[in-house]
Symmetry: C2
Subunit: 436 residues, 2 copies
């Protein structure tokens, strides 16, 4: 028979079991952390009607969509978890309690050009809080609290959650009558580290921005110091525009309550340079960096939006949310050898029978499993060496050997595979030894 | 703006959060049970190359596939987890330890005609054990052990795992020189309850099956009694055909070791009438029924197969596995009100502030979360009645109220939402009360 080469599509991550254990452990920790804050789970279909899924999309996103027909239906695979959330909230509005706090962890699809470290199928881990008509600014302080706890759970201490409020910069531009030029001005500002302050000023002059306005823009982008110092300097800018004032007030509230949520100043800061691309966000924005692995980029981003589901409903549904791109994060951390699982194998014990009749070995396995210990019985008729090699390859920490002597004396021989230490114990003693 | 109706495709299950909690709890229990037996997790892509995924498929299955082009690629969504497993094992053969014991829980896709209780997107929960060249019959006894533990974990006691071995019936047909007519004879046998023994005999006579052969077929299908009695009666049939003898010997071994695995005779039986359609299975076969809910059909089926990945590799890879169709099972059990979650909400406590400054309420939330208690802070500026209504709607079991008195005395007011009981406690006392 002609064989077909077994292969996986480029851009689709498929792991060996020992890596999968590590991946699942990360996913599990994120889930537990989200649940610790009381977020509710939902699970939406991967396939949606194109009309529903693409109500808003356009441009680059639309080109990346996996879209196809099945029968009379024009279908698409979801490319994020936000649009399905919007659909879900609009559809189930009457059955939800608001603020609706949900998490969703699932695969999304983008037919990007394949590239090392870029994936076409990847897990997103999202939390969002959706208000009915309005949503307190305190929710914006909840996000960094959840991020902080989640990243800590993942085993990292040296990270920084950067916070900003889009109303501040937008308010400044409004004050300076530069709203129309805001995109261009931001583009120039972003180059300051590369081209230097003098060239930024020159570029702004070339755009015919007034001298006094340039001064205030420069004053703004030179704001530095601690979080409290930055907030004070923002105050001292004396911007009278309402949008700016509102943004600053929100940012102050968020900072205050982030601290109440127990997030230390070492793990968050006000960063006036992050603006989170896209016009989607309207207030608070977040980006999160692992200080030792800045090259990964932001590992958890998000922000506040005015209206989640305007394409589906007249209800005003403001929200705030963040997302972790788990597949990419796992891939990068694994590549950098920055993560290690607390367990290498699922089984804690491999029970091996030295006699042909496996009855006793199976019974020992039952007792261990009933005590909550993940236990595997080795069932193949192989030499003892092969059995230990199997335990070794799977990195199972203990092997229990059942031979004639063990059966006669109602004991087990327990071998610690790491130390090589071997003990003859009662089953009760073995249970204890394994659980330690 | 014109609104688009937010809707979900027919045949795609989308649950409200309280149902999703229940669904996830079932999924989690199945995962834990599979891991208890040391099965390793894998996670394969939902999209595969059609050439790879459809190497074997044909007929009905192929018609149901979600298949489409993206760029130059002919792609398909997986319709089960077995073909991806075959691909995975063939592809990663050199990096796996055999027997390779894996579980996979994930969504699969079949574009079936939509029907109540039939799904186009549904979760399968699979375990398989794959041997390299050979695989001990003891593995066939492992499956009922895992099924038994899993169904018990799901909260059911009254169920039966039916076991058969296809070699027995195939061996009998071989003995009677009726191999070519086996499909037709089985069709007739299956109707015995409907049309009666006499008519079965008549049908077989019409097919020109010899009298002595008919007698032996009838003798076979009339085998009844306990598991041990059935095995004895099979022995007494005195079939000399090797395939039959092998099947019977395997069945006896499987029964013996199922008992060693601690599965009581009340939860399994030899059922010579189950043959698990399809020629895919070559030895042991399984079906599992909830006795009180027979109408659901088999909730966990599977069997032994000779060669997992013959379309991809020359290696002989025999295996045995079972699968739970979780989406349908959940749907049916939920409809029959046969399942209830141990928790109705994710949050155990809702912390409510009676004063505008939420600092104290947030700090109380931190303390509870750090003690491992899922805790939500209510952050909206609403009347106290609305806050309690929210806790009620989400079925959160406790509410903690923080007012001026509580802040002054460094205590909390804890309300048990089920009993209505309200207590003033220190935070430490509140933690204890909630954990009880």
């Amino acid at each position: 028979m002609n064989k077909i080469e077994p292969r996986t599509l480029p851009g689709f991550m498929e792991l060996l079991p020992n890596e999968q254990i590590l991946f699942n452990e990360m996913k599990e920790k994120i889930t537990k952390s989200y649940e610790k804050f009381g977020f509710l789970p939902i699970d939406t279909p991967i396939i949606e009607m194109s009309e529903v899924l693409l109500a808003k999309a356009g441009g680059e996103t639309e080109k990346q969509i996996y879209r196809f027909n099945k029968g009379d239906n024009d279908l698409s695979l979801r490319f994020d978890l936000t649009v399905p959330l919007a659909k879900y909230v609009a559809q189930n509005y009457n059955n939800l309690a608001f603020p609706f706090r949900r998490y969703q962890i699932g695969k999304v699809y983008r037919g990007e050009r394949p590239q090392k470290g870029r994936f076409r199928e990847f897990y997103q881990c999202d939390i969002d809080i959706i208000g009915d008509g309005e949503l307190a600014i305190l929710n914006d302080a909840t996000m960094p609290a959840v991020i902080y706890n989640t990243i800590k759970e993942l085993g990292f201490n040296d990270f920084c959650i950067c916070i900003n409020n889009r109303k501040i910069l937008n308010g400044l531009f409004k004050e300076l009558n530069q709203e129309e030029n805001s995109v261009e001005i931001m583009r120039i500002i972003d180059k300051i580290e590369k081209i230097g302050k003098e060239n930024v000023i020159k570029c702004l002059e070339d755009m015919n921005v007034e001298k006094t306005s340039i001064d205030r823009i420069i004053e703004f982008i030179e704001i530095d110091g601690t979080t409290n110092e930055k907030l004070e300097k923002l105050e001292k800018l004396q911007v009278s525009e309402e949008l700016f004032k509102q943004g600053l007030e929100e940012l102050k509230q968020v900072v205050k309550y982030i601290r109440s949520f127990g997030v230390p100043d070492t793990n968050f800061k006000v960063d006036l340079s992050i603006a989170r691309g896209l016009d989607y966000y309207t207030g608070t924005v977040y980006e999160t960096f692992l200080n030792k692995y800045r090259e990964i980029g932001s590992i958890c981003s998000g922000g506040r939006y005015d209206n989640l589901a305007e394409y589906y409903t007249d209800k005003k549904l403001p929200g705030v949310g963040v997302s972790i791109g788990l597949t990419r994060l796992f891939y990068k951390l694994n590549e950098l050898q920055a993560i290690e699982t607390s367990k290498k194998s699922i089984s804690k014990v491999l029970v091996v029978s030295m006699v042909e009749d496996q009855t006793k070995a199976l019974e020992v396995g039952n007792i261990l499993r009933n005590a909550g210990i993940e236990t595997e019985n080795y069932l193949e008729d192989k030499k003892i060496k092969a059995k230990f090699k199997y335990a070794d390859k799977l990195q199972i920490p203990y092997v229990i050997v059942i031979g004639e002597d063990e059966i006669a004396n109602n004991v087990v021989t327990l071998k610690n595979m790491q130390t090589g230490e071997q003990q003859t114990l009662s089953i009760e003693e073995a249970k204890k030894a394994i659980n330690e």
